[in-house]
Amino acid sequence: MKLITTIIKPFKLDDVKDALKSAGVQGMTVSEVRGFGRQGGHSETYRGSEYAIDFVPKVRIEIVVDDTAVDSVVDTIRSSANTGKIGDGKIWVTDVARLIRIRTGEEGNNAI
């Protein structure tokens, strides 16, 4: 099994979620993060003093999938999260040694 982690633009969350759902993904875990990257931040003025906002809001999605599903899930994310503008985000894939469903204790692909 693989863990696919992706960082996307927040307003794309609904699109990505819907696309993944259609692609058969049955579960995922989402969290709010802040990104630092090429997109850069910007500087604002508050009471006359400048302040830099280096981080921009992003959303992270984690999905554990069967090895065979990795490519299609990655493609689905790519196409649904893409705006073509800088800051669209990343997808990375890591190995998962074990996966357990807490409710049933099922392991491996059955637990996805």
Partner: protein
Amino acid sequence: MQSEVQILGTQVNLLWVVLGAAMVIFMQAGFALVETGFCRAKHAAHVVSTNFAIFGLGFVGFFFIGFPLAFGGFSYSAFGLDQPIGDALLGSGNWIFLFKGGWALSGGGITPALLGFFLYMVAFMDTVATIPTGSMAERWKWSSFTIWGVFCGAIYYPLFAAWTWGGGWLAKTWDTMGLGAGYVDFAGSGVVHMVGGVAALAGAIVLGPRIGKFGADGKPRAIPGHHIPMAMLGTFILLFGWFGFNAASTFAATDVQFATVATNTAIAGAFGAVAGMLWITRRTGKPDPGMMANGMLAGLVAITAPCAFVAPWAAAVIGCIAAVLAIETVFIVERKLKLDDPVGAIAVHGMNGLFGVLAVGIFANGSYGAGWNGSASKGVEGIIKGDWGQLGAQALGAAVILLVIFPIALGFFKLQNKLTKGGIRSAEEDEIQGLDLPEMGVLAYPEFGSNRL
């Protein structure tokens, strides 16, 4: 010559008006909180700031031009205003359309009493000005908004105010058309709320719905407000201020009808809140806090015109009808008209302003309003007393708001939209990101929710 007692009476009357004005001005806080609470966090600094800035923007317009246009010809003896500060600017006799005098509160006649009257009136004007910030929230470009503020204070509000409270042509329809005691609007269901409500409608039409408000199928999607307790606090502040809004509109502590007015106001608000709760539970299964708040506000808006003229039971009935009307109007605005009004301003102020104006012509029981508008009326009477004339005057007033004032608002926003580079709507990417950083330069909550770090 006035006796010592009479002088003391006018002093107390003026005090009542000034206290009332302070309470109405405090309502700005209520509007700010209701609107901000019912919008999203990413626009919160923008929404609250429009409600803050409107106070000054409208004020400046009213100070220089609006007040003279509307009230230059006004005279009211109760608190020592025994002569007008100006005269007709447009029209004459029973057909005056605009007044003049006291520009920038300078020139003769600027007595303490006149200044107290100005203060009360500027507070009402600001209520009108702030109503569209609700229906236009989350997508109104700041620079365009500021122009509305000045326009509303200088021109938009003064028009209908001049025609009615200022002593203009609609106040004289008892004479010119034999309709009741002329247009009667005790504290402004029409002059303030409906006039503000139609501007809210015009603005929502011109701006179009927020991104994401309507699905691809055209169905409205809910965009929940970000802070329910804030909106509820705002509603309470409005309720509190409304006692100044309605009861101090007697302009006199020596006219004890202020007590009737205050109590009718509370009754309509309370019954509106309860009716709103029951009705929305019936419609959707749960007592949506937003609709409960709208129900109370709807009751308050609707009682504003009739509050001095009706019996307590009628105030209760008016409150109940108003709440149902508000909720149903929210549905119609969204589902039929496909308009986006984040806080329900069109339903609450527009529709119930209209209902309040008509309610005078229905429920007035003849116990108050003798000599109103200079008429020979022995008391304003609605159709429950068998008199249809007053309802006629009221319907005429409402029609004028719909057919004259609404088009002016619509024309203003359309023209401004055309003349403004990029239009009066915020840039799409700013709206998506939230207007706070791009337009105000700060986040409302840099440390909460997704904005922190």
